[in-house]
């Protein structure tokens, strides 16, 4: 019998605990998919992946397969990737450019907006009205600063309302580009792990695992003469973790220094600093160059080197996609250096990510032990500050 979701969390002044069922119960996972992923605004694509009419990517909203396409009118469509005939997946490619989507089974042809344009051998369908047989589309699609979100079902707030508490941080993220424009690379780092999706989500806003889990990277940076191990420990005392409404949040280090970050403040990037000053002013530049891992609940992280999408597959299987970013208005050499820095820490062969993933699987394993049921997330509660 699945636990009532309300009983999964103990939330008291200095005691915050989550029941293991939240991470291990298939029934809770199904509720998360239906009530959170399928009813909330969820990140689906970046505008730079849909630059021209006909461009598309396929992805998932929770476990639901969708096509995200740029229509001929320039609008973005988010369509359930399921033929209205016999339920075949219509588009099996991860990305591409097309003027229509043709189901391979019986050749039902859909437009970029999902409209059913034609069916083969139509005389066999009698009087079938194609109008209501468009690919099911998301109930809402919206874009903010290049990030495309969709809400699969239901009515609800606008994207503007949804993002109102986190929007300023998204602006700062985009303004790493002096032209306030970011694109993502074609290639991505993709990994999968045998564990719940929330392990990755919670790790991204966990500011106190780095000195331990990433001790190997800290020693590598020390050995290379880049940053002393003691300096990494000192960073732990700066900035903090900020919780926002709606499940959003971020780790913020005003002066950078977290393991794996590109050194934007290096004097060798003086032309970049000058470009930021010209675009936004020197004070804003300081704010822009703070290091942040920004979570837009439930599935999107904005890191300085990449955007990260968490895809739940089942209660104990997750796919993580890291899409490195290219900053517009920045020299190619600097973007290339950012990519090399990203490769060093992130991805399945990086010097950082695999150790994080090891912790996720450790927790997945540990939660199978019975008799101890609660996960403790109370660290910092005693010194938490509220308000702006």
């Amino acid at each position: 019998m699945p636990r009532d979701p309300a009983s999964l969390v103990i939330d008291r002044p200095e005691d915050f605990r989550v029941h293991s069922d939240a991470y291990t119960s298939p029934e809770i996972f199904e509720l998360e998919m239906r009530r959170i992923f399928e009813r909330s605004w969820v990140y689906v694509a970046h505008e730079s992946q849909l630059a021209s009419a006909g461009d598309f990517v396929t992805t998932r909203i929770g476990t639901q397969p969708v096509i995200v396409s740029r229509g001929r009118d320039g609008g973005i469509h988010v369509l359930l990737n399921r033929c209205r005939h016999r339920a075949s997946i219509v588009c099996r490619l991860p990305e591409g450019r097309s003027q229509q989507f043709v189901c391979p089974y019986h050749s039902w042809t859909y437009g970029l907006d999902g409209a059913l344009l034609n069916v083969a051998q139509k005389e066999g369908y009698g009087d079938m009205d194609r109008g209501p047989l468009a690919l099911q589309h998301a109930s809402a699609v919206g874009t903010y600063r290049g990030l495309v979100f969709a809400r699969l079902s239901g009515d609800g707030e606008t994207l503007d309302e949804r993002l109102r508490h986190v929007r300023d941080y998204v602006d700062l993220w985009v303004e790493r580009s002096p032209a306030a424009r970011i694109r993502v690379t074609r290639a991505a780092h993709r990994l999968t792990y045998a564990g719940n999706w929330k392990f990755q989500m919670e790790n991204g806003v966990d500011g106190y695992h780095g000195n331990y889990v990433h001790s190997s990277f800290i020693r590598i940076a020390d050995r290379a003469g880049e940053r002393k191990a003691s300096a990494f420990a000192a960073v732990r005392e700066t900035g903090g973790t900020i919780g926002l409404p709606r499940g959003d949040g971020l780790i913020e280090r005003p002066h950078g220094g977290m393991a794996g970050q590109f050194d934007y403040a290096h004097p060798g990037h003086a032309d970049y600093h000058a470009a930021l000053d010209a675009a936004y002013g020197p004070e804003r530049r300081q704010d822009i160059l703070a290091q942040r891992n920004i979570l837009i609940f439930p599935n999107l992280f904005l890191f300085e080197s990449h955007l990260r999408v968490i895809q739940p597959v089942s209660v104990s299987e997750t796919i993580v996609t890291m899409l490195p970013t290219i900053l517009d208005g920045v020299r190619d050499e600097m973007n290339a250096a950012r990519l090399r820095s990203h490769e060093r820490f992130f991805g399945p062969a990086g010097f950082g990510t695999p150790d994080d993933v090891e912790m996720f699987v450790n927790c997945e394993n540990g939660m199978r032990a019975r008799g101890v049921e609660w996960v403790r997330l109370h660290r910092g509660l005693h010194r938490e500050r509220s308000g702006a």
Binding site: A187, R340, P348, F351, D355, E358
Partner: protein, 163 residues
């Protein structure tokens, strides 16, 4: 220095594989030139502005070995056991100074531990198309080791061992 023939190239590649499988990482590193590149691309035509799974110059390759040998790399605790199998060796360009080689890599990897724990005791198989540039310097050395994994743009598991 005579150009390497196919038999000599194979012998070299088999030895490289054995060094990795025996965990002789310092000896393996010594096979690479100072200006080497160890490269696992994702897209074939990307240039500098596309990410790779691995794009190590000599410095970063040394960091990779340092991480395995001298640090607490939790993704390698317990460590991987590997078997690198080299086949389909073709010498595509042969000169006195350098040789270009194509071959296939089939790599079995498993982490030995409590097999009831996820991710331990589960062998993974990786297949890749390799391109090597071997130089005679005066002994045979690797200037380029490029591995195009079959699964390079699919979700991958733990790749913290040496491919």
């Amino acid at each position: 220095m005579t150009a390497l023939d196919r038999a000599a190239v194979e012998a070299f590649l088999f030895r490289e594989a054995r060094l990795l499988d025996e965990g002789q990482f310092d000896e393996w590193l010594a096979l690479f030139t100072p200006d080497c590149r160890y490269w696992l691309p994702i897209v074939q035509e990307g240039g500098d502005l596309e990410p790779s799974i691995i794009d190590d110059d000599r410095v970063r390759l040394e960091e990779r070995i340092f991480r395995l040998q001298e640090t607490r790399a939790y993704a390698q605790e317990p460590p991987s056991r590997t078997q690198h199998n080299i086949s389909n060796v073709e010498v595509t360009e042969a000169g006195a100074a350098a040789v270009r080689v194509l071959c296939n890599l089939t790599l079995f990897e498993v982490r030995i531990g409590d097999a009831s724990q996820l991710d331990l005791g589960r062998p993974q198989v990786l297949a890749g198309r390799c391109e090597y540039l071997l130089v005679a310097a005066p002994e045979t050395r690797i200037a380029l080791k490029k591995v195009l994994l079959l699964t390079r743009d699919l979700p991958l598991g733990n790749l913290s061992f040496i491919i």
